[in-house]
């Protein structure tokens, strides 16, 4: 039942890479936001995995719950970011009727 820590870390790294890949290749703004969520969740997984590993070794710098608590905060941050991000996407959609990243061409990038 006990998943090895290395496996968790590898999964997190894969998730993170997928997130970066998605961010770089997709044009739809919603998907881009989703890719960012993926990256944040990779961080969550690493936090939790790290926390478990350190607890098993008895090493807990400060508090044993630092890792899981950080994950909770990351979930919070992700939610806030999604909220602001979607609001801005809606604002742009009202002006341009599109949610493609390319439609943001007003400013010479």
């Amino acid at each position: 039942m006990n998943v090895p820590t290395e496996h968790l870390l590898a999964l997190a790294a894969i998730l993170f890479s997928l997130g970066v890949l998605g961010f770089l290749t997709r044009k739809n703004l919603i998907i881009v936001l989703a890719s960012i969520e993926l990256m944040l969740n990779a961080a969550n997984l690493t936090f939790v995995a790290g926390s478990r590993a350190w607890a098993a070794e008895g090493v807990t710098g400060g508090s044993p719950l630092q890792g899981p608590i950080f994950s909770l905060f990351v979930i919070l941050v992700a939610a806030a970011e999604a909220a602001v991000g979607l609001a801005l996407i809606i604002a742009l959609y009202r002006l341009k009727q599109s949610v493609a990243l390319d439609s943001a061409g007003e400013l010479k990038g």
Partner: protein, 511 residues
């Protein structure tokens, strides 16, 4: 309970700001979003109280920092230095918002609310050794900034700027968080002090120990976190959002992004690098690694300033030009960090203080000029110097300061930076920076040329006395600080910052 209240007393400035933000929001709701300068005045009063509290705190603090809120918040002179300047720049930005003719006056209370929220984020970000609080502060600052950038809902440019900002901001947050999670996984702590130096029985493993065992994950983690900071302070190659966001955002917001937000980012960057690599008692292996990080930062600094300056050359819009110039200045400040010495850090802090003065001035000029002409390209500045002499000559002072020529604080700041870099053996970087100053001369003085050396085009003279007054004061400060009138407080403060950082970090280790 008493101890708890005492601990809260240490974060009184932050609490005042939080109360102020809620007060402003409520008042705006009661007023139903009608235009009101009163909210602006209330904000200014709140900021003044905060500033006063910070000054008290500065006097109270010794060389050593102190921790509060269960060790999450670190109050030291390094952080207080940046908080003071955040409050100062906020006050000026508030005045800009009040005086900006192009600013929509409806719902202005939310504007102030978001600005204050952003500065609360900046406050926590600069005064913590804990990566969790640092991240939360950074996110609060960022989220408020995203909303501010898109504050002009009806404007395509504003909406687009905000969107670009949040998309790239989200990426950088993801990258940075992943880096932090790796650091946590490697060391078992979120405290930077313990990461730098973990004594026996502290329940953590120092980064140096882990670096000896497995250098590659440590390198990846540190570089990922640095990338997050690099985004915040717009260092190449994480700079590409800067010109677009600066151009599209409302100009007072741009001012805050270029000044307050960037300085807070640098503060966190300096603290991160300082705690991990600069403290006494860290192992030799990590110091050697720190030197490599310093070299990486030096290369980034060189590329950043060169690219920023070269791109600024091609800009027709004053706003975009200032955006690229702020990228170039990030490169100069990075020189101080790259030197990896306390002197270098102090120089970087002093240069940031100088940068506050001259960039607030330059953006204030931009707001004034947009209010007069409704445009932001350099060519429509023609002859402005003769129609609005006070503002224009003040701008010349800022331009001279930005170029780094005496008798302004820009020269003084650059001089100290150059010394620090040469001291750290980065003579090549100093030469590149000097060449860059020559390049920057081109585009900065294009503004002066447009204002004074070309004949005026007919314009409707619209004087804005309030803004002109602020600019004038800023210009005088820029010159006086350059002449050394404020040398003792400012230099002293900047010098004490890294000192408190260093001592604190060692102290945390032995706890």
């Amino acid at each position: 309970m008493n101890a708890y209240i005492e601990q809260m007393g240490l974060i009184a400035p932050e609490l005042v700001l939080t109360a102020l933000s809620l007060f402003v929001l409520t008042w705006d709701l009661l007023k139903k979003g009608r235009n009101s300068d009163h909210i602006g005045y209330a904000t200014l009063v709140g900021l003044a109280v905060t500033g006063w509290l910070l000054l008290q705190q500065w006097g109270m603090l010794g060389d050593k920092g102190t921790q509060t809120a269960f060790g999450m918040v670190t109050i030291d002179r390094f952080g207080t230095f940046f908080k003071l300047f955040t409050v100062g720049s906020m006050a000026v930005v508030t005045l800009f918002v009040m005086l900006d003719k192009n600013e929509r006056k409806h719902g202005i209370g939310e504007y102030y609310f978001l600005l204050i929220g952003a500065s609360i984020g900046a406050f926590f970000m600069v005064s913590t050794n804990n990566l969790l609080l640092l991240m939360l502060g950074l996110e609060l600052l960022s989220l408020a900034s995203y909303s501010l950038a898109g504050f002009h809902k009806g404007s395509k440019r504003s909406a687009e700027a905000a969107l670009k900002y949040i998309v790239f901001g989200g990426l950088s947050a993801g990258v940075m968080l992943y880096g932090i999670s790796l650091l946590y996984g490697l060391t078992g702590t979120l405290d930077l002090g313990l990461m730098g130096h973990a004594p026996e029985g502290s329940g953590a493993v120092s980064l140096a120990t882990q670096f000896d065992a497995s250098p590659i994950p440590v390198a990846i983690a540190v570089v990922l976190v640095l990338a997050g900071f690099a985004y915040k302070v717009s260092v190449v190659p994480f700079h590409f959002w800067t010109p677009d966001v600066y151009e599209g955002a409302p100009t007072p917001v741009t001012t805050f992004l270029a000044v307050g937000s960037k300085a807070a980012g640098f503060a966190a960057l300096l603290r991160f690098v300082g705690a991990l690599f600069l403290t006494d008692g860290v192992d030799a292996s990590i110091v050697a690694y720190g030197d490599r990080i310093g070299f990486l930062l030096a290369i980034l600094a060189a590329i950043t300033m060169t690219l920023g300056n070269l791109s600024a050359l091609r800009q027709g819009s004053l706003k975009r030009m200032l955006a690229y110039s702020s990228i170039a200045h990030a490169g100069y400040v990075l020189m101080g960090a790259a030197s990896m010495t306390s002197e270098g850090f102090a120089a970087a802090m002093f240069y940031l203080a100088a940068y506050y003065c001259m960039n607030l001035g330059a953006f204030g000029f931009l707001i004034y000029f947009e209010g007069v002409t409704g445009k932001d390209d350099i060519d429509s500045l023609k002859g402005m110097g003769w129609r609005h002499p006070v503002v224009a000559w003040s701008m010349v002072v800022f331009l001279v300061a930005l170029t780094g020529l005496p008798p302004t604080v820009g020269f003084y700041g650059k001089l100290i930076l150059f010394y620090a870099a040469i001291d750290a053996g980065l003579a090549w970087l100093v030469i590149i920076a000097a060449i860059n100053s020559v390049i920057s001369l081109f585009y900065y003085f294009r503004v002066a040329k447009s204002m004074f050396l070309t004949e005026p085009v007919p314009q409707v003279p619209m004087r804005q006395h309030g803004l002109a007054g602020i600019l004038c004061v800023l210009a005088v400060v820029t010159v006086l600080a350059g002449l050394g009138a404020f040398k003792d407080p400012l230099r002293g403060w900047a010098d004490e910052g890294p000192a408190s950082l260093e001592i604190y970090a060692t102290d945390a280790g032995s706890r």
